[in-house]
């Protein structure tokens, strides 16, 4: 094919995904309608994730006023926020809770969007940016986990990064050493230390937020351009206006979410969910805490990682990544019935691994 023709095809493709004639208030807000059917609750999940993200931005900026990203000061400054700054414990606790809730709603959002076939043409770009957002959200979780610089945080980060190095054993010849080099590039030094803390901090508060804002911009623009996906086979019984009807309902959900988050933040310290009292500052001479685990949202990959050989997990995650990115094309002709079943199966796996991962691990490893 000749180059001009290819360019023309690319242009046509983009024009269909980003229709300029629809980029106005009338079609993006005024005329947009939301179908009402038994899966309608799925339409709230993205908004909920967005809400928790906004909470994270606000509380994160507040924490930034007091947090100090150095190995000697990090834990002390977190302690200072918790014990001395007025309302500091509340802000930090809300930040922890909202991070978990954001990841939970992002996961549910992914599953519902999949089940409703919200990725079908012309919404491919919405889906792919969504997958990117998922990755960024997990990266937020991983980098933010290190910042308090306590025993669990540092050791969990060490173990997480160790996984990268272990990939080396499956690579031929000279490439064996590459993953270890990559790990050191991520860490910034031979072991997790000040350089790691500095760059995780930079990632967590500058680079990832910029990345998520850009991706989120494209994601939301596409959502408003193409409207809500129909969600079910056949015509929905009823449509409601996006603005103001659905928008107000969305706000109501946000209000309830804020209420729940605030009460949680006020009453239940996030750390109380951990069964081990390991939140003393990172002490390099102290032994690696046993029973150390990542945050719950990594259980679905962590326990299989502990049980199965690494290459199975590598293959599996590569496959999963490929399938996630390629979903709009792989499942182009799949019926919504099948998609719902697949989403339920995936959801069941996530729930079982998150809740009973430890028991399953002990079942096989004794």
């Amino acid at each position: 094919m000749k180059l001009p023709k290819q360019l023309q095809r690319i242009e046509e493709y983009l024009a269909e995904r980003f229709p300029v004639e629809k980029m106005n208030y009338a079609s993006m807000v005024k005329k947009k309608e939301v179908p009402v059917h038994r899966l309608s609750w799925g339409y709230y999940m993205g908004g909920l994730a967005l809400f928790f993200f906004m909470v994270q931005v606000v509380t994160g900026l507040m924490l930034l006023f007091y947090y100090q990203p150095t190995v000697s000061d990090a834990h002390a400054s977190v302690e200072y926020i918790t014990n001395h700054v007025p309302g500091g414990a509340l802000v930090r606790n809300i930040h922890s809770w909202a991070s978990s809730l954001m990841i939970a709603s992002v996961m549910v959002h992914l599953l519902t969007a999949f089940a409703m076939k919200a990725f079908s043409k012309p919404r491919e770009i919405t889906w792919v940016t969504g997958v990117a957002l998922l990755g960024i959200t997990f990266a937020f979780g991983f980098t933010g986990y290190l910042l308090p610089w306590h025993q669990i945080a540092v050791n969990a980060t060490k173990i997480g990064l160790q996984t990268v190095e272990e990939v080396g054993q499956y690579l031929p010849g000279q490439m064996t050493a590459w993953p270890a080099a990559i790990k050191e590039i991520i860490q910034g030094e031979a072991s997790v230390g000040q350089a790691t803390l500095s760059r995780f901090f930079a990632l967590h508060v500058i680079i990832l937020p910029l990345g998520i804002l850009a991706t989120l911009g494209i994601h939301l623009l596409s959502v408003q351009l193409h409207g809500m996906s129909q969600g079910i086979d056949g015509q929905p019984k009823r449509l409601e206006k996006f603005f103001p009807t659905f928008f107000l309902k969305d706000l109501r959900v946000w209000g309830v979410a804020f209420m729940a988050l605030f009460v949680l933040g006020l009453c239940l310290p996030f750390e109380s969910l951990f069964s081990y009292p390991l939140f003393e500052p990172f002490n390099p001479k102290g032994s690696t805490p046993d029973g150390i685990k990542p945050e719950w949202y990594f259980f679905w990959v962590y326990y299989p990682l502990e049980l199965l050989p690494l290459w199975v997990i590598m293959l599996g995650s590569a496959l999963l990544g490929g399938v996630l990115v390629g979903t709009p094309w792989i499942f182009r002709n799949t019926s919504r019935r099948t998609l719902v079943i697949l989403a339920i199966a995936a959801g069941a796996y996530l729930v079982v691994m998150t809740l009973f991962g430890e028991q399953i691990y002990h079942l096989f490893k004794g």
């Binding site: 000697s72 000061d73 002390a76 200072y80 007025p86 309302g87 031979a190 230390g193 390099p284 046993d290």
Partner: protein, 438 residues
Amino acid sequence: MIDAFLFVGLPYLAIVVAIVGCVWRSRHERFTMSARSSQFLEDRQLLFGSAPWHIGVIVVLLGHLVAFVLPKVWSSILTAPGALLAVETVGVASSVLAIAGLSALIYRRLTNARVQAVTSTGDLILVVVLLLQVILGMMSALHFRHGAAWSTGTVVPYFWGLLTLSPDMTYVADFPMLFKLHIIGAWVLVLLLPFTRLMHVLAVPFAYLWRAPQIVVWNTTRRRRQAVQATVASESRRAFLKGAAGVAGATGLMAMGVSEKTVNFFKGPRPDAEAEADLLQKKLERLQITAQERAYELERQRNDMILVARYAELSENKGKYFIDYQMQPGLAFKGQDGLPIVISAKCTHLGCTVGSDLDAQGRVLCPCHISFFDIRTGKPNEGAPARTPLPAIAWALVDAAGKVVASRKPGQPIQGRPAAEVLAQCSLYITKPGRDLA
């Protein structure tokens, strides 16, 4: 004598008459227990008189009531800085409001022909006594300032003395005339209660606040339809107002709470110099720990061997702690054959550091959950919480010349069998896992 009548006789007289009179009137003339509204006759001036009067007088009376019923609570509230000033200000402002409203009501009652037609002598007496009473009260408040505070120690005990049937006039005897008149006025009003429209204070229509609106109309078809429309309109207005009030209240409360939190958050704590110094000290210690740790790690990265101890320092029943290549604690003993025993000291149960003292069976104890580990095999005792043995650690004995005379890797036999006199000159090293010694 006259004081005794005014401050003891009059009160009891007033109270008895009021109780008897009110009970009698409420049983025999139920429907006269009202303020006999004249809203039908004139409603414009009434609004500007009645509303301020009632609002003002209710606020003032509530202040009196709280001071009388809960004097301790009241005076503790007033000790807060500014509270007394605020209470006095609200009190005077409310009495001004009440006087203004009552004056408007009196003017209306004296000038409006329709209203005069339903005005009785009792009404006029009552309204004048009320006006005088409020003016007296306000003047007392202005002349003898901070009455909200001093009344709890004077008028309130007098009042309670009367109620508990042990009247004590000593409290009242020294009051200034102005204030005495205010107290007498109060008892006169109590006396007037059953004989005038003042009795409507006992028939407060609280239900009015939440009952559905009632509209009185002549019963014709057209009027009925209008009434239905009016009801619907006022219902929806009520619903809207209730919702708006709820949302506004909730938003206001939330804004207050959130701003209180955020303002203080950004204002930040103001720790004292001592706390500041402690914090700095803590940070310095952490930095030192980190630096030391770095040094250890570097040593273990660069060197294939790390010195544990001189051979002479090893003991048969007391282990020597060191840090192994995994940056975990380890223990070194002298075995019965004279050669070292080097094992990890990190309990395989929950990672506690095991003790260094050897018991009679050649075992060390993990104190956290009581596991005994045999140091020769590393194996835990039967039924211990720990299941897996403590791993052995590769070691080497180096003589004074720097030559390796004996070494052992985990799971392999000892290599080299130095003589006792050579041993005494040796030092014990741990060797890097996976490295062959030169």
